[in-house]
């Protein structure tokens, strides 16, 4: 008989077979949990105080998953402040993205011929498809916010200082990865929104001196985004960036094990780091305290996301990408608005008076071939990240206390304010009051864009089908088309929008002439299809009478009306 068999027989002989089975099961269980027996786990679940010696630290030394989690934290960092759980939430969203992303991968082909059709299939033919897509999209945007806030908090609490400089460094890499993940995913639906946002994004790379065109070519695989570009973005989105992300999250997490979470600044003597020198009575063990805490926060985040996606959130899918037609008011994704804002800065040194600034621009353009766009968008933009990488090294102050770091905190505040300001400037409407960053066509085209945007929905398109009364309707404040309250309301809205543009010029100084009039014309194309057009009669800057026309086709079943 083998040795193992003999041991089993001996055990049954000495303790009876019931106890032997229990004992053997418990052994297996202990091996599975890397050191916790069934009774230990029950103790954990019941919230019993840890016995001595504490078996609950064993998984941290014995097992893979727990070895990148610390055995204990200082009590002071287990409250909401100082972490606000933002690092954890970043990891939670990263995980959600991976899970929902794998689901979407099953139904998606990265080719211009198939991608858009696949998206429609996901939304119309795959159970849970739209739910998963909403989660993936909203989760990605939430992740950008959460990761940024996590950076703001580690900056504010001075956690980037010695010995955590490298933690900060890997963090900035993760921020870049997060942004690139979002950005590369943006293209994949292959609709007008994504196609043009990414075209704008990559053309920024193109403007960079020396290596710009090469980078652009490598990204797009051709001078314009097409099959090659889509495949490359797909591979970046599902292979390259997730891989870099996973590796750096692992390193980042390891650093948190190594150095612990930094204590609230006021608790430490200046220049010291005591996060790992925790007196036994201040220790909060990972198992079960931190673990249950984290599971709870992860659960809440997941639940909020899932509920958002079945209630108010629905990811947009516009019309098929069309390389030949740029929609009005194309924008980069919102987390790159600040870059678009940078691109709109008119001079290399904008604070100087106009003539000197222009002269300087001329000088730079002639001597270095540097235009303001290239300078701000392509050189200063990426420098922002270089600056972030450098933060631990340019701040020599050993103290983490808020009172001692007024300069750095002020600097951070100004930086954040600038980013917000530039983000506002990045959207087509520009910054309120100053009007910086406003881009707009002529007033009539803006009226049409407001009610009938090139992509997305405007009030003229959401009129219920049976209220789209065939005929030509003048826009009037008292419009009253029988049986069409919504149409009448929109006609009045168009009237007021025109009046606003007659009353005051836009930030570019364009104004609509006071006599301008407009009509909305509706024709029946097919029994369930109507054409709705807006015709604006106005006088242009040269005093010539013009008509501006824009139209859309609306199908009864398009689901736009509301």
């Amino acid at each position: 008989m083998s040795v193992i068999g003999k041991r089993l027989v001996d055990q049954v002989k000495s303790t009876g077979w019931k106890s032997t089975i229990a004992q053997r099961l418990d052994d297996g269980f202990t091996r599975f949990t890397a050191g916790l027996s069934w009774n230990d786990v029950r103790g954990v679940l019941r919230g019993d105080p840890a016995p001595k010696p504490n078996p609950r630290v064993k998984p941290h030394t014995e097992a893979f998953w727990f070895h990148i989690r610390p055995t204990f934290y200082h009590e002071a960092v287990t409250t909401l402040y100082p972490t606000f759980r933002l690092g954890l939430l970043s990891a939670v969203f990263f995980t959600i993205e991976i899970i929902t992303g794998i689901f979407l991968m099953i139904f998606y082909t990265p080719s211009p011929e198939r991608a858009y059709t696949n998206m429609i299939d996901i939304l119309t033919n795959v159970p849970f498809g739209s739910f998963m897509r909403d989660m993936h999209r909203l989760g990605a945007e939430a992740m950008v916010i959460v990761v940024t806030l996590h950076m703001v908090r580690t900056f504010t609490t001075g956690s980037y200082k010695k010995p955590r400089q490298f933690t900060w460094f890997t963090g900035v890499v993760l921020l870049v990865v997060t942004l690139f993940l979002s950005f590369s995913g943006y293209l994949l639906p292959w609709d007008q929104l994504s196609f043009w946002a990414v075209t704008i994004g990559t053309s920024m790379a193109d403007a960079a001196p020396v290596f710009g065109p090469t980078v652009n070519l490598l990204l797009r695989g051709a001078p314009d985004i097409g099959a090659g570009g889509l495949l490359r973005f797909y591979l970046m989105h599902v292979v390259l960036f997730p891989l870099i992300g996973i590796i750096f999250v692992a390193v980042h997490y390891y650093k948190v094990v190594r150095w612990g979470i930094s204590l609230p600044p006021e608790m430490e003597p200046i220049g010291e780091d005591n996060a790992r020198k925790v007196p036994p009575d201040k220790r909060v063990n990972f198992l079960p305290d931190i673990a249950t805490n984290e599971i709870m926060y992860a659960g809440i985040a997941f639940a909020v996301l899932a509920i958002s996606c079945v209630t108010w959130y629905s990811a947009p899918l516009e019309t098929h990408a069309n390389p030949l037609a740029t929609p009005n008011h194309t924008v980069a994704p919102w987390y790159f608005y600040w870059l678009q804002g940078l691109l709109k800065i008119p001079h290399i040194i904008p604070i100087l008076p106009g003539s000197i600034a222009t002269a300087l621009d001329q000088f730079f353009a002639n001597v270095l071939g540097l235009t303001p766009k290239v300078f701000w968008g392509v050189i200063v933009g990426p420098l922002v990240f270089v600056l972030l990488f450098a933060v631990p090294y340019i701040d020599p102050n050993p103290s983490r206390r808020y009172g001692d770091r007024k300069i750095m905190l002020a600097f951070g505040g100004v930086f954040a304010a600038l980013i917000l300001y530039l983000s506002l400037a990045g959207i087509p409407t520009g910054v309120p009051v100053t009007g910086f960053g406003y881009v707009g066509g002529t007033p009539p085209s803006e009226v049409a864009q407001e009610f009938m945007p090139d992509e997305g929905e405007g009030a003229l398109m959401t009129i219920p089908f049976d209220q789209m009364i065939v005929g030509e309707h003048a826009v009037r404040p008292d419009a009253n088309v029988p049986d069409a309250p919504k149409l009448s309301r929109v006609l009045a809205e168009v009237y007021h929008s025109m009046e606003r543009r007659k009353a005051a010029p836009d930030p570019l100084g364009q104004i609509l002439n006071p006599e301008a009039t407009a009509t909305v014309k509706i024709t029946q194309i097919q029994p369930d299809l109507k054409q709705i057009s807006i015709n604006i009669n106005f006088t242009d800057v040269n005093g010539i009478a013009q008509q501006f026309t824009k139209y859309k086709f609306i199908h009864k079943e398009s689901g736009r009306a509301h």
Partner: protein, 299 residues
């Protein structure tokens, strides 16, 4: 208050409860999404997207197809047949011996042009619209145009003015030529062909180029253009149809008609040097011939 929030650390019970509630909420959200999808949501979204693709198709149709097939799909004399009549939906596929559905027939013709068998000589041959075949449209746009055309099937238009496509083998009635050609004009026609004008221009029964404007009724058209505002605003100086035709050949940039078979007529495509390459006597004969096309009887 702030201190309370900052030092918040959920008790064990709170964690279990919050975790449990979250878990239930997640499951509930998934169930709501799943039940919605399996009952109504998928089919509603499907209907919405179908509808939106028809809308997209309508835009492509109006931009590309309406100028020959008409805004209502009734067809245009001499340009293209009806795509909205009952005959089109019920008989066309059988007539031309197409072995598949009408959808695939429409798609095939739109993409690559009309199969010879179903096409007697139109003065405008059907251009291939697919990008890959040199046309302006992507595959998805053609799919959408097919959806739009098929959307007429529910209520075909059968008024008197519908232009039906001729049945295969049955030629389109040739345009009446009011004056029999003189020998010089006959020669003009041959010169029209030997100089390669037919590569771009169509004349029913003679030539079927699809790049430049059709010359079926060039005399009538010339009279119309000479009287038009557009022509007066251009560099054109002709006062008679013959002068107009001559000008169009020797100085094609003087005036460019707006509509060609494949959309707006492009400037600079018609070679500018025919005055040098065609001997004056030949030129006169070509002009003499062309001026018979569409000339009212007795003029």
């Amino acid at each position: 208050m702030i201190k309370k929030i900052i030092t918040f650390r959920p008790s064990f019970t709170v964690r279990i409860l919050a975790g449990l509630i979250s878990f239930i909420a997640i499951i509930a959200a998934c169930m709501v999404a799943g039940v919605a999808d399996l009952t109504q949501a998928l089919s509603t979204r499907d209907a919405n997207f179908r509808a939106r693709l028809i809308e997209e198709g309508a835009r492509v149709y109006m931009d590309q197809c309406a100028r020959c097939h008409g805004v209502e799909g009734k067809g245009i004399e001499g340009q293209g047949p009806s795509l909205s009549s009952s005959n089109f939906f019920n008989n066309r596929v059988k007539e031309v011996g197409w072995n598949s559905t009408l959808e695939t027939y429409i798609a095939a013709v739109t993409k690559s042009g009309i199969p010879l068998k179903s096409s007697p000589m139109w003065e405008v041959t059907h251009p291939p619209f697919l990008e890959r075949f040199g046309g302006p449209l992507r595959e998805d746009q053609i799919d959408n145009v097919v959806r739009f055309v098929m959307n007429w099937k529910q209520s075909p238009i059968d008024s008197m003015d519908v232009i039906e496509a001729p049945k295969p083998g049955e030629a389109f009635a040739p345009l009446p030529t009011p004056v029999p050609l003189t020998p010089a004009q006959e020669e003009g026609r041959n010169l029209f062909l030997s100089n390669g004008c037919n590569a771009c221009h169509a004349i029913r029964g003679v030539a079927n180029g699809a790049i430049g404007p059709s010359l079926n009724r060039i005399y009538e058209d010339a009279m119309m253009w000479i009287a038009s505002e557009e022509y007066k605003a251009s560099q054109g100086q002709a006062t008679t149809p013959e002068e107009y035709i001559r000008e169009s050949i020797v100085n094609p940039q003087a005036f460019i008609v707006p509509e060609c078979p494949q959309g707006a007529c492009p400037a600079g495509v018609m070679p500018p040097n025919y005055a040098d390459t065609i001997p004056p006597a030949d030129l006169d004969k070509i002009i003499d011939y062309l001026a018979t096309l569409g000339r009212p009887a007795g003029e």
